[in-house]
């Protein structure tokens, strides 16, 4: 495979394929190398995508039969103790009409495959079952292509785009990105539970084809900094739970035990009753935030998506940061190729585009959010317990007056924490996301 290309893209996920589409649109000769046996084979199934970002790459994605699972019409947030919890949600009819496909669920194995096919139709070359094991460099250290696991597997390219995710042996061996520290990644496990389509629509109270997402915080992560989600797909529910890797290592809780107890929670169990587990997958999430981002480009290469630590934990936005950064990388590459300068200087348009876009603005806005959560474990144990205690007491009718109940609740809160600490926590939390 001693061929030469304008661009070699490592990884056929949302970042790599977005770039491939944009490059192919401009007639740039691009090859995408994917270690899975097909694009999506190594991805966590079941995720939320946003129509806005996909339309930037493929304006006609619905006509191209994008494999959409459900159109999201409602987002719920749960705050749970072991025994119960709070639920708030927001549903809006506009998400079924004018803003349909604002957000929708996809199965990544299906979606990535479809997305790669679109790039391939545009003229990009997608090569699966091929692992990139090293980067080719000239004597000045500029990246001039990649080495793959295939025989004679050198692929020369003017520019290399690294879009191979957070868990990358290539990053470790070539150190284009520092290996993430344990506290900079979350380890999540996900299970797909199969249920009849109508039963899902009944249980979530939605019309045919519509769906709901639930984001969950609280005691379910066993006091660790983490989150769980439930996403509705056409005939499965995606259940996922994850926690900070450093917390997991310290707690000795096993990821698969975490998801088992999550499934038994009184708010979760009725939703998945009679369902059949169909898939079990694990994945890393890059949660290091702005301060853990590597140099995003250098001589002959750029980094996009998860690989670049572009991830917004608060708004569950990873896929769209990947797509947006992949697109901007492609635009910067086209610029560099036209100038005939693929050095760090020539590729600087990538940094400029990112900085002006929501990608870096959001990364900066939330740069302290991860640390805030990590340092305030009471969010995951003491507070949900107290919150549940308060609601449980107020809702229990047992002949005790409400004033007396309020007193009891305040006593309980003061015995466990203080008003000062609570206000400080809210203040710090606000500061970390404002």
């Amino acid at each position: 495979m001693k061929e030469s290309f304008d661009v070699a893209i490592v990884g056929a996920g949302p970042a790599g394929i977005s770039a491939a589409c944009i490059l192919a649109d401009s007639g740039v000769k691009a090859i995408v190398l994917e270690r899975g046996e097909y694009p999506g084979a190594k991805n966590m199934s079941g995720g939320v995508l946003y129509g806005h970002n996909l339309a930037q790459i493929l304006p006609d994605y619905t006509e191209r039969n994008c494999p959409i699972e459900r159109n999201i019409v409602e987002s719920r947030i749960w705050y749970l103790s072991k025994e119960g919890g709070y639920s708030i949600g927001y549903r809006d009819n506009i998400f079924t009409t004018d803003r349909k496909y604002n957000a929708f669920t996809v199965g990544r194995a299906k979606f990535d495959r479809w997305f790669a096919e679109q790039a391939s139709k545009k003229g990009a070359l997608i090569v699966p079952s091929t692992t990139v094991v090293d980067l080719l460099r000239d004597d000045k250290g500029s990246v001039i292509g990649v080495v793959t696991s295939r025989e004679d597997g050198e692929v020369r390219a003017k520019v290399t785009l690294l879009a191979n995710g957070i868990n990358s042996p290539l990053a470790a061996s070539t150190s284009y990105r520092a290996e993430p520290k344990p506290e900079e990644v979350a380890l999540a496990v996900k299970e797909a539970v199969e249920l009849p389509t109508e039963l899902i629509e009944q249980r979530f109270g939605v019309s045919s084809g519509d769906g709901v997402t639930i984001e969950i915080l609280g005691e379910i992560t066993g006091g660790m900094d983490g989150v769980a989600v439930i996403y509705t797909n056409r005939d499965t529910l995606s259940l996922s739970i994850g926690a900070n890797l450093a917390d997991l290592a310290a707690s000795k809780l096993k990821p698969y035990e975490l998801i088992e107890s999550f499934k038994q929670h009184p708010m979760v169990a009725p939703l998945i009753a009679e369902g059949q587990p169909r898939e079990y997958i694990a994945h890393w999430l890059p949660e290091g935030g702005y301060d853990a981002m590597p140099n995003l480009y250098g001589d002959g290469y750029l980094i996009a998506g998860d690989s670049a630590m572009l991830f917004n934990a608060l708004h569950r936005e990873g896929n769209n940061l990947a797509m947006a950064s992949g697109k901007m990388a492609a635009e910067a590459i086209i610029e560099a190729l036209n100038k005939g300068d693929c050095s760090r200087n020539g590729l600087a348009g990538y940094g400029e585009r990112l900085a002006e876009s929501f990608v870096i603005k959001d990364m900066k806005k939330y740069r302290n959010f991860g640390r805030f959560r990590y340092q305030h474990k009471e969010i995951y144990n003491q507070l949900p317990r107290l919150a549940s205690f308060a609601a449980r007491e107020m809702l229990t009718v047992n002949g005790i007056g409400k004033k007396q109940k309020q007193k009891l609740i305040m006593q309980e809160i003061r015995s466990k924490t203080s008003l000062f600490k609570l206000i400080r926590l809210l203040w710090r939390g606000w500061r970390s996301v404002k």
């Binding site: 899975g36 890797l245 809780l253 698969y256």
Partner: protein, 73 residues
């Protein structure tokens, strides 16, 4: 549901050679008191035997190694 049953849900295409290898068994037993690999692996690949940690290769995910444990040691 046990982890063995969970992993049975996944379609396996086992390579001939494991991508997970323990390079220095002594290091695991002597220099790594916490042995986080025993807890962290979502596929429960690493098992503590009498004098070493074994890699239960076919139990692992067909999706990349979680080569992380040494960082905790």
């Amino acid at each position: 549901m046990k982890i063995e049953d969970k992993l049975f849900l996944d379609r396996f295409k086992v390579d001939e050679e494991s991508h997970l290898k323990i390079i220095d068994s002594q290091k695991c037993m002597k220099d790594c008191p916490e042995q986080p690999c025993l807890y962290l692996c979502p596929a429960n690949v690493y098992r503590l035997e009498q004098d070493h940690i074994s890699v239960n290769y076919e139990g692992r995910f067909p999706r990349g190694g979680y080569g992380i444990s040494h960082k905790f040691g």
